[in-house]
């Protein structure tokens, strides 16, 4: 049970270009996002020799966890490593390095978590560009939670074995959410816990393939196979093959097959929250 004056653990995976934003914007915002003290556990995905972070805010202490790798690691691998090293309890919060926490937002995430029996993940709302996915207005249940800003229960996270590191980037949050649902834990959306996250919308470019554009399609094929077996794989391949950019599609399919090789799908368990409506469409649109 979380005491009112307990220190809460926040995890953030950053790159060398994120240091200034984290120190001058994110850390000060965390101080007003909760009345509790914060330990910000951070690690640089780039690996050894990365710049360290410093906090000048009394209520936010930074714990620079030392990476041991020399090539960049993925989102899931870094967060799993942080979790193993810091053992947060009873929950921890994930926040992306380019976010700005809004006043009382973290306290609102915690309240929803503690008020909901068997809550596994509580996702905050992103501003200015909201993920327009469905959620139940009464229970706040939602099919999946974005890893950019969410609270995760430590027990279900440990039971589930953490993030699936095969994804590297993108869709590992959907995967975790679905495994929580299948394990009897709920995934919630809390609109009263906003975070500023400048991503998407007008800033997508058509002249370049972004990491999101590549990995999310590759990982869509993998997640379809992992949760829906050969049937899911077949459907995913059909959808991706039909997309406009044939050259990209062909290479993504090769990469996805390589990712799938040597893995087995989970035993299929139908669940209303575990669903695919299209390429990376895992929800109805709100």
């Amino acid at each position: 049970m979380l005491q009112n004056n307990s220190t809460i653990a926040i995890q953030c995976v950053y790159g060398p270009d994120d240091v200034r934003h984290i120190e001058t914007v994110l850390i000060p915002s965390l101080a007003s996002a909760t009345h509790r003290h914060v330990t910000l556990n951070v690690i640089c995905y780039a690996g050894v020799g990365a710049p360290k972070l410093v906090s000048v805010i009394e209520s936010v202490a930074v714990n620079n966890v030392e990476p041991h790798w020399t090539v960049p690691q993925g989102f899931g691998a870094c967060h799993n490593f942080l979790f193993q090293k810091t053992k947060p309890d009873p929950f921890f919060i994930l926040i992306n390095p380019d976010c700005i926490a809004v006043d009382h937002s973290i306290d609102n995430l915690i309240r929803t978590y503690t008020d909901t029996p068997r809550a596994g993940i509580v996702e905050g709302r992103q501003w200015p560009y909201d993920h327009p996915k469905e959620y139940d207005l009464q229970s706040h249940e939602t099919p999946w939670a974005s890893g950019a800003y969410c609270l995760v229960g430590s027990t279900p996270f440990e039971q589930a074995g953490g993030f699936d590191e095969r994804y590297f980037l993108y869709n590992e949050d959907v995967d975790l959410s679905w495994r929580f649902w299948l394990g009897g834990w709920s995934v919630l959306f809390e609109p009263g816990a906003p975070v500023v996250h400048f991503s998407g919308q007008r800033h997508y470019r058509s002249d370049i393939v972004s990491r999101e554009g590549y990995y999310s399609i590759r990982n869509f094929i993998y997640i379809s196979y992992k949760f829906f077996g050969d049937r899911g794989l077949k459907r995913a391949l059909e959808l991706v093959s039909a997309s406009e950019d044939k050259a990209l599609a062909a290479q993504v399919i090769v990469a996805a097959r390589s990712l799938i090789e040597g893995t087995k799908p989970l035993s299929y368990q139908p669940h209303p929250q575990v669903k695919i409506h299209g390429i990376n469409r895992f929800h109805d649109v709100r």
Binding site: R20, H21, T24, V25, P28, S29, D98, I100, V102, R125, W127, P128, D130, L137, P194, V196, F198, S199, Q201, R202, H203, D207, I208, V209, R211, Y214, D245, A247, L248, Q251, V252, V254, A255, R286
Partner: protein, 541 residues
């Protein structure tokens, strides 16, 4: 400085020599590949060289201009590697908001700009100045490809990839009597070999050149270690140049504290993400109320007591510009905010801009139904994007760029008429633009990316006020002032024509909407919003 000319024949060489007596020219005959020739020239012992076509006509004094250009580039663009007289830029410039700069006359047309050096993505090979010493030290390498097409684009990409700047400069201006062979170019650009060669270096799926775009096939292996040619061409051009200062001025009376906090946080985020500039954030106020405690975490405070009664926003702006010594000014109102996504590009453009410049960036209005106390309370909705590419319509009397879409150099702001600012309340943003763009040697740079947000709420804002008296009085003063000035009268008339007719694929200026068209679009948008709300309500039932 030696001029290298790959000559098609002895006869062509003789013609060139006759046109250009007294120039130190080395002719290269029976060249099968300009890629190989450039490779040979790069690995020669010389520090600098000019390479040009055998059908260019260089003006008298060209070589001494080129020597002076080398000295100027070494001083002001110390990281330069390659320079041409025509090229494609990583941003837009001028009234037509074009990416293409031509300091060359040829059968396609004449020059389209004056007096300014720009960083480029690719250049035309008709006349090129090479910094051979820098190229050798950075290991600039040409691929082993045949023929006489795309060698200039490859040289530019190789130079940028090696960390050196590619520039377009007016000192290399000349006449090129050939219009080139579009058929040959089209054949080569659709050849997969060339596309794949580019694809080893650049992540971009399309590489723009003056003859057309080259499609670059996507290759997953090592993709994310390849360069984005737009960002990289700007970044390398900034190396070694002094850092200009940019003052972000946030106007406030401390009546909207949470909105002010958002403005400050996002401005700080923008500053953190910026490159190649020094950003300072200022809160500028005429209020006697004490600033909230959070202000000092983000900004310096400038108190400008203004003695005039009523709305002092215009005079406040002027007072701030006079009090703060910064190279550039970027004004936000306290209910605006910034998007830091393109901060590094904005900073790079400001860095390479000439000293009398204005940079226009994209901003959007967002419908924010929330009360002012909680700016993040509900999701907001983008309702209107102001493309900076239409800035020229200001010369048609259309205020198309909001105040937070303009970054103006101090050297242009010194021409602001203080008496006008004492008479107007609104349209001070429009006045700033007009004073800036009507100055001789004003350079306009355009970045068509979303950099700012404007909050539209139900009430409490001047922009939504039903009584337009103050607006109309301000416009009367503005129109009278500018009609009676006589700086660039021809500019207004030519802008009206450009606004009506011009649109090129690189981002030209479109036609402005008439007031009845604007009203129809507004009505359509309102009906669409209402219909969507009804549909959403049914969904929730």
């Amino acid at each position: 400085m030696k001029i290298h000319v790959p000559a098609r024949s002895k006869a062509a060489a003789l013609v060139f020599q006759k046109r250009h007596p007294h120039m130190d020219v080395e002719f290269h005959f029976e060249t099968q590949s300009l890629f190989s020739l450039l490779s040979t020239i790069i690995h020669s012992n010389a520090d600098y060289a000019i390479v040009c076509h055998d059908d260019v006509f260089l003006p008298v004094g060209f070589v001494s201009s080129a020597v002076a250009l080398v000295e100027r580039l070494n001083r002001t663009w110390p990281n330069w590697g390659l320079c041409g007289n025509a090229g494609i830029l990583p941003f837009l410039v001028g009234g037509a908001a074009t990416r293409t700069i031509r300091y060359v006359a040829d059968p396609h047309g004449g020059i389209n700009y004056q007096g300014t050096t720009f960083p480029a993505i690719t250049i035309d090979g008709n006349t090129m100045l090479l910094n051979l010493r820098a190229m050798r030290s950075r290991g600039v390498t040409m691929p082993q490809l045949p023929g006489f097409q795309l060698y200039d684009a490859f040289l530019a990409v190789a130079t940028i990839s090696a960390g050196l700047a590619v520039l377009v400069a007016p000192e290399l201006a000349c006449y090129h009597s050939s219009s080139g062979s579009q058929i040959d170019f089209d054949r080569v650009r659709s050849d997969r070999v060339f596309g794949e060669a580019f694809g080893k270096v650049v992540a971009n799926l399309s590489l723009p050149t003056l003859n057309g775009d080259v499609r670059v096939p996507f290759e997953a292996e090592g993709y994310f270690s390849k360069i984005d040619i737009y960002e990289r061409s700007l970044a390398v051009a900034c190396v070694g140049r002094p850092l200009p200062s940019v003052a972000i001025l946030i106007r406030t009376q401390f009546k909207r504290k949470e909105l002010l906090r958002r403005a400050l946080q996002t401005a700080t985020a923008f500053a953190a993400a910026s490159a190649h500039v020094e950003v300072e954030i200022w809160v500028v106020t005429d209020s006697t109320e004490a600033a909230p405690s959070f202000v000092a975490q983000h900004a310096k405070i400038l108190e400008c007591p203004v003695t005039a009664t009523g709305d002092n926003r215009a005079l406040l702006l002027l007072a701030a510009i006079e009090a703060i010594s910064s190279d550039y000014f970027w004004v936000l109102d306290d209910d605006d905010w910034l998007f830091p996504n393109s901060a590094n590009i904005v900073g790079s453009i400001v860095n390479i801009a000439s000293d009398r410049s204005i940079v226009f960036v994209g901003v959007s209005q967002f419908d924010e139904a929330a009360a002012e106390a909680t700016p993040y309370d509900k999701p907001n909705k983008e309702i209107r994007y102001f493309p900076p590419t239409v800035w020229c319509t200001a010369l048609n009397g259309i205020n198309s760029i909001p105040i937070n879409g303009q970054i103006i150099s101090r050297t242009l702001l010194q021409y602001v008429d203080r008496e006008l600012f004492a008479r107007i309340v609104y349209f001070e943003d429009f006045a700033l633009q007009l004073f800036a763009i009507t100055q001789p040697r004003c350079n306009v740079y355009v970045l068509d990316q979303l950099c700012g947000g404007i909050s539209i709420r139900r009430d409490g804002q001047s922009i939504t006020a039903k009584d337009r008296t103050i607006w109309e009085r301000s416009m009367a003063e503005l129109a009278a002032t500018f009609a009676q000035r006589n700086e660039m009268p021809g500019l207004f008339a030519s802008a009206a024509r450009a606004g009506a007719l011009d649109r090129d694929g690189a981002g030209g200026v479109g036609r402005s909407l008439s007031s009845s068209e604007s009203r129809l679009i507004k009505l359509y948008r309102t009906q669409k919003r209402v219909t969507q709300k009804i549909i959403d309500r049914f969904r929730r039932l």
